[in-house]
């Protein structure tokens, strides 16, 4: 199946090999159409107006919320719209930190994206809580056994990614959540890299909070979801205060609306919510069975070809994740990525917002190739061709011996 035809960006950039979907996926026409539909046919505010463009747009927004709930197996009121996964993760930390006391422990990992780790680092500094890191295996993985080594009666929060944004490893979150709950700890899962690639079932995982962004899953930028268990969300204080999140306001008091609205202060990114609905429909049509199959085939093929190049070092050559973390030995990733870019291959270079992991790997920076279902075998072959060309170029200019 050629899915590139659904993505307008390829009409203008036919030869582009896009291998940076872990940073942001491309967006299909369906999604941009849904966004412009809002501006062209509705354009009013939601939840407030008592005229057709408002209540019709409100109905669509609420329908998208239902769609998302179904998509992750949650109930509607547990789906909060945010401005992205970063916002979702910050909201959890900012609201829950008030319950932390001196000496309480927060478990996280060196694999985390900065947005999963930093809100808790700050919370721990403020409240005198202690951050514990799950020791990673030699391969850089999180295991249940190693999680048990840091889990204690003092553990109050576990902040963990479902899939690492550099290594692509799948964290055994279900087991970690079950063990955390025995200790009474709350688990906040960063699903930014998982939700685009696999069926998420928050009930099956028993996650307390699950966060993700739409722009990594064929949807619009500037919109994310915070899933939270009803009883937790009900007991939490909102982080942002403003319009439409309150029930009754007087000069000296305020009562809040029920969830999810309590956490949605101000005008929501309505057009983006329209786009998110189209993204969910699109992903459902493609199907996670197909997405997972293509992720494995494409990254497997790329790894197989990369392995045959002696100048390449792969940091996560263990499983069929859609992400490959690698370097050309002796070439700084930023030099390499410019060469790829000049040859129309889009990769990510640097720290990928995961500096602790790079310290753990003992490298200054890395290249990352990430695949999605719209990539194809010819993308892989061009990527390998350019890799070889890059090596030859850097030898020629005297960079590589």
């Amino acid at each position: 199946m050629n899915y590139k035809q659904y993505f307008p960006v390829f009409q203008n950039r036919k030869d582009m090999v896009y291998l940076d979907s872990a940073a942001s996926s491309l967006k299909p026409k369906k999604v941009s159409d849904a966004i412009t539909d809002y501006y062209n046919f509705y354009s009013g505010n939601i939840e407030r107006g008592v005229y057709p463009i408002s209540f019709e747009a409100t109905a669509i927004v609420e329908k998208v919320r239902e769609k998302i709930a179904l998509f992750i197996n949650a109930s509607k009121e547990e789906v909060i719209f945010t401005r992205g996964c970063t916002d979702s993760l910050n909201t959890v930390a900012l609201s829950l930190k008030e319950n932390l006391k001196k000496g309480d422990e927060i478990i996280t990992t060196e694999l985390e994206h900065h947005s999963s780790f930093l809100p808790w680092l700050k919370a721990s500094e403020e409240k005198g809580a202690v951050i514990k890191f799950i020791p990673l295996t030699e391969e850089g993985k999180i295991t249940v056994d190693n999680f048990k080594k840091v889990l204690s009666d003092k553990t109050k929060i576990v902040a963990i990614s479902h899939v690492s944004n550099v290594m692509g490893y799948l964290t055994p979150v279900k087991e970690i959540i079950a063990l955390s709950h025995i200790k009474g700890a709350i688990v906040s899962v960063d699903g930014a890299q998982a939700a685009p690639h696999m069926k998420i079932d928050v009930k099956d995982l028993d996650a307390d909070f699950y966060s993700f962004s739409f722009h990594k899953m064929c949807g619009p930028t500037g919109l994310g979801v915070l899933y939270g268990k009803k009883e937790l969300l009900n007991s939490m204080e909102p982080v942002e205060l403003g319009g439409e999140m309150n029930d009754e306001v007087s000069k000296d008091n305020v009562t809040y609306k029920n969830i999810p609205y309590k956490f949605e202060a101000g005008t929501m990114p309505i057009a983006e919510i329209f786009g998110a609905g189209a993204a969910i429909d699109f992903l459902n049509e493609v199907g996670f069975g197909y997405i997972e199959k293509r992720d494995k085939e494409l990254s497997g093929y790329a790894k197989k070809l990369l392995r045959s190049i002696p100048e390449i070092v792969i940091y996560n050559d263990y499983e069929e994740s859609p992400i490959i973390a690698f370097n050309i030995k002796g070439i700084h990733s930023h030099d390499a990525v410019s060469f790829y870019s000049e040859n129309n291959v889009c990769l990510r270079a640097g720290l990928h917002c995961a500096e602790p992991l790079h310290k753990w790997l003992n490298i200054t920076a890395s290249l990352r190739a990430s695949f999605y279902f719209y990539n194809d075998e010819s993308d892989v072959e061009k990527f390998i061709f350019v890799t070889k060309k890059a090596i030859a170029f850097f030898k020629e200019v005297g960079y590589l011996e």
Partner: protein, 146 residues
């Protein structure tokens, strides 16, 4: 299309492989600036010493891509011995050149001119700028103290 050969020139490779003035003195009279590019991991330390209005010594170390490291090396060599005023003027025009902004072409940028091609690689402007920005900070600090 811009040409990779225009940035990976022999002079740049030479300075990357054989960096000049590498290693910090950490002695009295030296002013240090540490700058980092958080997205790519480039990290540069630049030290300068001023005597009688002249930049008498520049030391540098750090880690990063070839453009970042070579620019630190070339800057240290080019600006050593210049007056603080001239050094700041060269830095200012060098930064404009790599950013593809108007700059004073009558100013002799010496070996720093090899970075002219960077203007066609917007993603690399920061790499070529970070050492110059660090040195500028140390010189401005010294100027204030003087």
């Amino acid at each position: 299309m811009s040409d990779m050969n225009s940035i990976y020139r022999q002079v740049i490779m030479d300075h990357y492989k054989n960096p000049r003035n590498k290693g910090l003195k950490e002695e009295e009279g030296y002013v240090l600036c540490h700058l980092k590019n958080p997205s790519c991991g480039d990290m540069i330390n630049v030290e300068s010493k001023i005597q009688n209005g002249l930049v008498s010594d520049i030391r540098q170390d750090g880690q990063g891509c070839s453009i970042c490291c070579a620019s630190a090396s070339i800057i240290s060599e080019t600006l050593k011995g210049k007056s603080v005023k001239d050094a700041l003027n060269i830095i200012d025009n060098y930064l404009k050149m790599v950013s593809n902004e108007e700059y004073d072409k009558s100013i002799d940028l010496d070996e720093l001119a090899v970075f002219e091609g960077i203007k066609d690689f917007p993603a690399r402007v920061r790499c070529a700028s970070i050492a110059a920005q660090a040195l500028r900070k140390t010189l401005e600090k010294e100027e204030k103290n003087a």
